[in-house]
Amino acid sequence: MAESPKANIHAVAHEHIRNNPKFQELVSKRRAFAWLLSAVMLSIYFGFILLIAYGKTFLGQSLSGGVTTVGFPIGVGVILSAIVLTGIYVRRANTEFDELNRQILEEAR
């Protein structure tokens, strides 16, 4: 575990990063975005569960006159929303946030 020499090099960089306003910007932006999307996902999921518990007749009614019920597009929609939300996060994190991160690390050298 020969981490101590590296730790010294990092200590300088740490000081620099801590005082870099871009770091504060990255952390607050990314956290707000992550918690927002988490809240959206949790609301969709627990909304779905509560709808199943209390809205059985709504989910069981016909979608457009046929045998397909409202519940199916909603259920599949929850699955698709999970995929879309991860896509949205990865897109922003891997471009905007990673660019900001790259600048922060660059400036700390």
Binding site: H14, I17, L26, V27, F46, I49, G71, I79, L85
Partner: protein
């Protein structure tokens, strides 16, 4: 029909109560010769899979040189590959056979489990994936103990991981034994030994590289096979869901009720607790968390969750089509039905809808293929589990607690290999012991521990500056013992296994109570901790946060 029954059904899929013996032998309509022919298809295809994966293991063994190679495939797996491997870890025989069987039995309600298992992934991505990659090296305990006392925190993390791994292994072993009787017409004991031996070879010689590629290959085979079945079903109905559903309603004994939620979710406490368990349990499973150390950086870690979520979501939509396809194409064909039991009961028992549907769509050859894939699935999942368990023993307990870092990489890897062998032997023995036991509690137990002990400590370690060793350990053990205790006192163990009349803990999943309790205790005992050690640990939070957020210092973590 209540939630307990569904918990049982889900556990049954993992292997619990598959009681059917030699499925095909039960059928008077299926001749003996035909049975043999079908079995050989499955056995030959499984042998091809084993041959191919052993080749990969040989290649991986020659590449494996360092501890990082062994535990984390040298950090050289891409986001796409890791996404497939995660999906492979997740698309167990339980989800394939179990969820399609749930849909076959009750239609819409089958969606509830698959949705719960999927929505954990976005949460993993938003809150823990990149931090896990930036802070950890080989196991999630690296992250939990990053700025805390190594000994107590790693002992806690390893206990949680090992309990989950061992019980999960029991479920998989029992499932393998029952499946081989069902699909190949071979003995239970043979299956358990074959699975145990092969997983020891994969893990001991091939490490994470072999385990990952076994998982990727299996994921591709399973996705391909399931897609083929679903397309076969849809083409049968002119690609009209309306026509598929209409036929299903016509032939299913529950009629139009299969199109709406039944009585699976009636008690909101159980419903929310189930949701929390499925969602956050995923985010605390050791073999899943370990996958994040196989990619080179946070960017690839994020991508792997996106691909995994896509593949898993697609797969669950397929299992849904497969369940409805089985209602229309299997339940209407007398050759698949268990006439003695009547109704929707199938030859071979409750887990057979997807298997018989494969036969209805693609004949004997395709039935053999799907059977081989179902068995390969178990093999791949147990390999991932064994590697996670072995890492907890070698990296956490041996290298960082017992030897306190005074060991060499080679020594640590050697311990890990012996631990894999040990876990393999234990899994085989437990697989034999549990053959006739009721193991329906396993889903509730493992997911509750993951959600109530591992997940809270991991999240607190990443996000809470106030967390100290004392808080993490007390909170973690409260989550661990609380969830184990509640599951034992709940219906699945207290009534089903021990035979008492009434459960003491009235709900199936304890997570709604134990997860908040763990979070609360982590926080409370941390803020009450005014020791020098506690203050020193808090002082290190800022430095950890910089690495956690930016990845500074993490780039080389997997390379040395």
């Amino acid at each position: 029909m209540n939630i307990t029954k569904f918990a049982l059904a889900a556990a049954l899929a993992i292997g619990g109560t598959l009681v059917a013996t030699a499925a095909y032998a039960a059928g008077a309509d299926m001749g003996n010769a035909e049975k043999q022919a079908t079995n050989w298809h499955a056995i030959v295809m499984f042998a091809i899979f084993v041959g191919g994966t052993l080749g990969i293991t040989y290649w991986a063994a020659r590449k494996n040189k360092t501890a990082a190679d062994f535990y984390a495939a040298g950090g050289g797996i891409t986001g796409f590959q890791n996404g497939l491997a995660i999906a492979g870890d997740y698309m167990s025989a339980a989800s394939f056979l179990g969820i399609s069987a749930l849909v076959y039995g009750s239609g819409f309600d089958g969606l509830i489990f698959s949705v719960g298992w999927l929505v954990g992934w976005p949460i993993i991505l938003f809150l823990i994936a990149e931090r896990l990659r930036n802070l950890g090296k080989f196991t999630f305990a690296d992250v939990a103990s990053y700025r805390l006392a190594q000994g107590p925190v790693r002992i806690f993390a390893a206990s949680g991981a090992l309990i989950v791994v061992i019980f999960y292994l029991i479920g998989q072993m029992v499932g393998a034994g029952q499946l081989i009787k069902l699909l190949f017409g071979l003995d239970y004991l043979l299956a358990v030994i074959v699975v145990g031996a092969l997983m020891m070879v994969y893990v001991t010689f091939g490490g994470m590289t072999a385990t990952t590629w076994v998982q990727i290959i299996k994921a591709c085979l399973l996705l391909g096979g399931a897609t083929f079945i679903a397309l076969g079903v849809l083409s049968h109905f002119g690609f009209s869901f309306e026509a598929l559903f209409a036929k299903a309603i016509e032939v299913h004994p529950k009629k139009a009720a299969i199109m709406a939620p039944g009585s699976l979710v009636t008690n909101p406490v159980d419903a929310i607790s189930l949701g929390l368990t499925l969602m956050f349990g995923t985010a605390g499973l050791p073999h899943i968390l370990m996958r994040f150390f196989t990619v080179p950086n946070a960017k690839e870690a994020r991508k792997s969750v996106f691909y995994a979520t896509g593949f898993i979501g697609y797969f669950y939509i397929l299992t849904f089509i497969i369940g409805f396809g089985a209602i229309t194409l299997v339940a209407t064909d007398p050759q698949y039905l268990d006439v003695a039991k009547g109704g929707l009961n199938l030859k071979g028992g409750g887990n057979m809808p997807a298997i018989w549907l494969a036969h209805a769509i693609g004949g004997n050859l395709f039935l053999g293929f799907i059977s081989a894939v179902a068995f390969a699935t178990i093999l791949a999942v147990v390999s991932g589990l064994t590697l996670a368990g072995a890492s907890a023993i070698s990296h956490d307990l041996y290298a960082n607690v017992f030897a306190r870092g005074r060991t060499t990489e080679a020594g640590e890897v050697r311990v890990s290999k012996f631990a894999s062998l040990g876990l393999g032997v234990i899994a085989v023995i437990l697989g034999v012991i549990f053959e006739k036991q009721n193991v329906a509690f396993i889903v509730a137990l493992t997911f509750s521990i993951a959600a109530s002990a591992t997940f809270p400590v991991l999240v607190m370690a990443m996000f809470s500056k106030s967390l100290t060793t004392k808080g993490a350990v007390i909170g973690g053990y409260i989550g661990l013992f609380g969830s184990v205790g509640c599951v034992i006192l709940s219906k699945v163990v207290w009534v089903s296994s021990f035979g008492f009349a009434e459960p003491i803990f009235p709900f199936v999943y304890p997570t709604l109570f134990t997860m908040p309790a763990a979070f609360l205790c982590c926080w409370l005992f941390s803020i009450m901790d005014n020791s020098d050690q506690g203050n020193a640990e808090r002082a290190q939070y800022d430095a950890m946060a910089i690495r956690s957020e930016t990845g500074l210092g993490a780039e080389g973590a997997a390379a040395h």
